[in-house]
Symmetry: C2
Subunit: 339 residues, 2 copies
């Protein structure tokens, strides 16, 4: 038995307090804990990549949310790792696994923390954390289950170059939709057009003309609005939604603090007159759709229809500042940490 | 041939100009026109009852709407009438018919203006204009197609005592839901509890405590919000919506003018975190559901599960002020005009 991992210790990032708005680095503490032992009926995982996700803001807030990480706990995060020890017959030393391992070097994982094995010959590990992981499932389920796309329709995607938005773009394009992305900054506009192949991309930094820019990019209106932002970007898209349009609420990153109950234009009249459907969803409610979605995502990946740029931060000391990095829009692709 | 109707003339209410907000009487002109002749392939209808509906505000506005009545035209309205002359083989003199006849004494109706024959032995004519007409279909389709009720759930209905809300209450109660109505004034509260059998009724006139009153009436939260109002009433209901709740946007009567783009609390976070579904609908899009809905409504009526109180205004001179009467909440039941 190779126990070479023992003795390296287990660096962890723990939640030190609740966050207000976007979590700042002082919400976390970095600690050096003892290496955990392999749990009975579980596995010990060496974490190779750990995710940084916009949803983490909600997990750390004291506001109502679908999921909370308690103060004192290791920060929850999706990850890719290698099984270094197993006490469960379904999992073996050397397996590459995708699961919820947290911001730490080693995770004593129960079976419920493990999602599925990954095959590094199909895609690099970090892609399994993004386009072929929950990001991809989020894109697929939001687009197909709630957006119900039809070839020839027009979709607008906010955070168009992000981990989810980039997969939505690839899937929508493959389904025959005209795709319009909203993002910020010249580098991301270039990425949207040249790499992600959006038909049009709009820089929301040019806020005075955002409504006019969306209208100009969508002269025949919009059938699906895949919204990761809320706020001013949504305000620019709602006026050009077509009759029968579907709004998919996947995130709300443009509004950094919901405790103050931000105001905005009332939507009821648009919803009624245009017969809109507006759905909020959280991917983990839809495990029944995972098999179909995963198969379709792998097909799309192998066919070259998905881009999966990643930005990797080295070391757990980079983790406390990583959520702010994400919300400031500085990341270039799916953000993750190599612990 | 009995031509006794000839010579009475045809009093009509026409649209004189566009309305801003709730149409005031000066939006209309009352004129005495010549009796129309029966159109080829159509019928001449003597209008017995003509509807007054909240949706008329939208038809008369210069804002975007799903339907507009042009300036100069006879005001559009659903009605119940008797065929006095027919030049179409499917329709006969003496038939009682439901259709779009306008605010006038006689209507030269094409076949497309006629919805269906009514049977006055099942229910009085004015009920065929309400609970067994488009109001009832609106209630049924909004509740069943978009609300997807399950026995034991909780529904909140705004304009609870109105022409649509009262039918929603009856259908929801019959489906095993707990029903909570929001209305205004002691008389309507009494009607909600004693006649319409709501489990609880809230007077929104007591606005300082509306949110608390809704929360107190729905201690376990709300599964379906059948909303005819938007505005402050919706703001009081959204915080108590449960995970997976459905919001059915059937009307927006609480906001009297949408040209000024009223602001309100942003809903995106609730929509996401609570996985809400929010649907706007207009009944006339769903003709495919009419047969099932009509059969179910007639069964419910015959089983005594629907109340159908009407308030009848006598004479077309009452028509120009009738929409304001409705929006001020003075009506007691389904409002219609006997021309």
């Amino acid at each position: 038995v190779d126990n070479s991992h023992i003795g390296t210790g287990n660096r962890q990032v723990r939640v030190a307090k609740r966050a207000i708005g976007v979590p700042s680095p002082d919400v976390f503490s970095v600690v050096d804990a003892a290496l955990p032992s392999c749990p009975p009926d579980g596995v010990l995982v060496r974490v190779m990549f750990a995710a940084v996700d916009p949803a983490m803001r909600g997990w750390l807030s004291s506001e109502t949310n679908y999921l909370t990480v308690a103060t004192g706990a290791v920060m929850r995060a999706e990850g890719i790792g290698e099984v270094v020890e197993s006490r469960h017959s379904d999992w073996h030393r050397g397996d590459w696994v995708y699961g919820s391992f947290g911001w730490q070097r080693f995770c004593a994982a129960g079976v419920s923390d493990l999602r599925w094995r990954i095959d590094p010959s199909i895609a690099p590990p970090a892609v399994w954390l993004g386009a072929l992981g929950l990001n991809g499932l989020t894109a697929w389920i939001g687009l197909n289950h709630f957006g119900r796309p039809r070839s020839g329709e027009v979709i607008v995607v906010s955070t168009a170059a992000g981990a989810v938005g980039s997969v939505v773009a690839g899937l929508a394009r493959a389904a025959g939709l005209r795709t319009v992305g909203i993002t910020r900054g010249a580098a991301k506009i270039t990425r949207c057009i040249e790499t992600l192949k959006y038909d049009a991309a709009i820089d929301y930094g040019d806020a005075r003309s955002l409504g006019a820019a969306v209208a100009a990019a969508c002269p025949d209106g919009v059938d699906i609005f895949y919204d990761n932002t809320a706020g001013a970007i949504a305000d620019a898209v709602f006026p050009v939604l077509k009759r029968g349009a579907r709004v998919v609420q996947c995130g709300t990153v443009a509004v950094q603090n919901w405790l103050d109950a931000p105001a905005g234009p009332r939507r009821e009249r648009d919803i009624l007159v245009k017969r809109l459907s507006w759905h909020g969803f959280v991917v983990i409610d839809h495990e029944n759709l995972y098999p179909e979605a995963r198969a379709d995502l792998q097909r799309a990946w192998l066919a070259g229809k998905l881009d999966a740029q990643t930005e990797i931060l080295d070391g757990l000391d980079a983790a406390p500042g990583s959520i702010r990095h994400l919300y400031e829009g500085h990341n270039t692709g799916r953000l993750c940490i190599r612990p």
